[in-house]
């Protein structure tokens, strides 16, 4: 495995370091030492060998590589458009994925159609890979619905706002897959902050105990709003898996090839009945947590700059160019496609109608509920009273 240099990372010390100095535990040592991470493409775009994981991308064609590049560029363009739309007042909020395109596209493209994905609220790239129309992702951020798509159309669950809840849903779903004797796999996305939640710990326990075919894909983007990973854990996150009895691996989250390979490996384990895997994609949230956040209050420019040097899109472009897998025409065409996507998203959001006011009472229950019926009728009478006034 290739070891990434730690030189570019700004060293951080946890609040407790001073008081525990001199009584350093092995855990602290482990946390401060940068663990190995799986990398197939260096930040400069050089392909490096990996004895364990190369085989998972061995047959990849130049066309497929261009496809990964296209996915990342279009996802970034979509994300930028959504951020702009929030600034223009068209969306109430947006959670940007800027910087995490490789983690999402690599893992998303590793999934099979019959696999099932349980996202958090930032998995726009994974949604793209699953065929969810990006405009559907914007409804809840615009405030016209609380979901926006049929989870079963693309085997892509609704976004989950409560941190870590979906890891248990994924585990239960995977338990069901195993009961059905199917060879599908399930993948649950969550972040470094979520790793502190009890539900994530419980999902590790359940998935291990029942040998559930689930992949836990943690995008460690270094920040849980303003709190660094050091506020969540004293050991590298991927090592958590060991305590539950299943493998964990850290992958370069800005390397789309490595994310693709490692996720394929983990999904294959799941399909083969080998149980859960924890993948920690070591990446970086280049933007704010959401558009309500102000990262200048808790982190400096130099950190972001160090990560910009590892940009997932530039890295693959460098590789495509050096390997003569893409020409200028491809990049120009993609630029045009990217602008068209931005325009389509912009127009779709602005054309999104407000929901019917009676939607408040719809689908509260599958089998109906007397109180909902009563309140709907009261609401209707109240609304009708305005019509009487207008008609008078």
């Amino acid at each position: 495995m290739t070891v990434e240099s730690t030189a570019a990372r700004k060293p951080r010390r946890s609040a407790g370091t001073k008081s525990t100095a001199g009584k350093t535990t092995s855990a602290r040592k482990t946390a401060s030492a940068e663990p190995e991470l799986v990398q197939l493409l260096t930040p400069e775009g050089k392909r490096v060998k990996n004895a364990e994981f190369d085989k998972y991308v061995a047959g990849i064609t130049p066309e497929e590589l261009r496809g990964l590049y296209r996915d990342m560029v279009l996802t970034r363009r979509f994300d930028a458009e959504a951020t702009a739309l929030q600034r223009q007042g068209e969306l109430g909020l947006w959670a940007s994925l800027l910087g995490q395109e490789a983690a999402q596209i690599g893992s998303g493209r590793a999934t099979r159609e019959d696999d099932y994905v349980f996202p958090t609220y930032r998995e726009h790239g994974v949604a793209w890979c699953r065929g969810v129309d990006p405009t559907n992702l914007l409804g809840m951020f615009r405030g016209v619905n609380n979901g926006g798509w049929d989870p079963n159309s693309n085997n892509f669950q609704l976004y989950t706002i409560v941190i870590g809840s979906q890891t248990l849903h994924a585990t239960g779903y995977a338990m069901g897959v195993a009961k059905d004797g199917a060879d599908s796999a399930v993948i649950a996305y969550f972040g470094d902050g979520a790793s502190s939640q009890g539900d994530v710990a419980e999902s590790f326990t359940f998935s291990a105990v029942y040998n559930a075919p689930v992949v836990f894909f943690c995008q460690n983007n270094q920040w849980a709003i303003s709190e660094p990973t050091e506020k969540q854990t004293r050991v590298p996150l991927y090592q958590r898996a060991q305590g539950y009895g299943f493998p964990g691996v850290r992958v370069d989250g800005n390397d789309v090839l490595a994310c693709l390979a490692v996720t394929k490996w983990a999904l294959e384990r799941a399909r083969n009945g080998e149980g859960p895997t924890l993948v920690e994609a070591f990446t970086y949230r280049m933007g704010a947590h959401t558009t309500s956040d102000d990262p200048t209050r808790y982190r400096g420019d130099e950190e972001r700059q160090s990560w910009e040097a590892k940009d997932p899109i530039l890295r693959l472009r460098a590789y495509l160019e050096s390997a003569n897998h893409a020409d200028e025409g491809f990049f120009a065409e993609l630029e045009t496609e990217s602008e068209a996507l931005g325009k389509r998203v912009r127009e779709a959001v602005r054309a999104m109608p407000d929901p019917d006011r009676f939607a408040i009472f719809e689908n509260v229950y599958a089998d109906g509920h007397a109180l909902v019926d009563e309140e709907r009728a009261q609401f209707a009478a109240y609304q009708a009273s305005f019509a009487d006034v207008e008609g008078a």
Partner: protein, 326 residues
Amino acid sequence: MAAEKMALAKAINESLRRALETDPKVLVMGEDVGKLGGVFRVTDGLQKDFGESRVIDTPLAESGIVGTAIGLALRGYRPVVEIQFDGFVFPAYDQIVTQLAKMHARSLGKVKLPVVVRIPYGGGIGAVEHHSESPESLFAHVAGLKIVSPSNASDAYWMMQQAIQSDDPVIFFEPKRRYWDKGEVVTDAIPGPLHKAQVAREGRDLTLAAYGPMVKTCLEVAAAAAEEGRDLEVLDLRSVSPLDFDTIQTSVEKTRRLVVVHEAPVFFGSGAEIAARITERCFYHLEAPVLRVGGYHAPYPPARLEEEYLPGLDRVLDAVDRALAY
């Protein structure tokens, strides 16, 4: 007709057995539900007959139990999960309230979550802290959940069948102090709707409305009051959400007086909701304010004090006297 006298706990056991036999998608999950048969033996023998993949002993993690049940329901299963005691449901409260209750609406009706959460609840068994609580109002306040509580063996059997068949999440509160009370269960009768209240005893002077463990207490109250020449009607509400206000209204229009009895604290409890709505509906029929008898705004007390805390014969009779004095 196949009729059998059985304890309420046994009736739930038989009901779960029938559901497991009828529908291969039904699962029973929880801590100790397998080999032990549950701490109250409600699931006794089910794992032996249906196997570990249908009757699942889970890790000791309530949020995990409900959260994975949600995932199983998304996959097409119908999990019936057991929370061992009322006071232990709170680690799972997040999953129940933020996920289980809302996913149907969030998916615009595309996703259904037919999950039953069984909770043995209420006091009167001399238990330690967190083993005697009545948190039904905390769940009834949440749209997307249905809340029911049987008071007798027959209802326990049939309401469990109906809860499992419901496409909505149902919180099934089991009156643990009535687990051992026997009643006749007719297993091939066609039951009434799950959320319909029943008149447990007819009367003309005052209506006592209760559910779960307090129905028996109210029937005892009515019997005692009858000796004093008072003819009380007793309603078994059976469902807390939705609440069958029509049946309560019909009764109150006849008796003109209403006392609501539950074990949960009175403050912001289900009795407050009933009092408010019945006052709206029956203002000109009422001869007295709707009175409530229930627990105090205090932590559930140690066992040696629970008889003071729980509504008993005398406290309910006192409320009856007050209502009739208007």
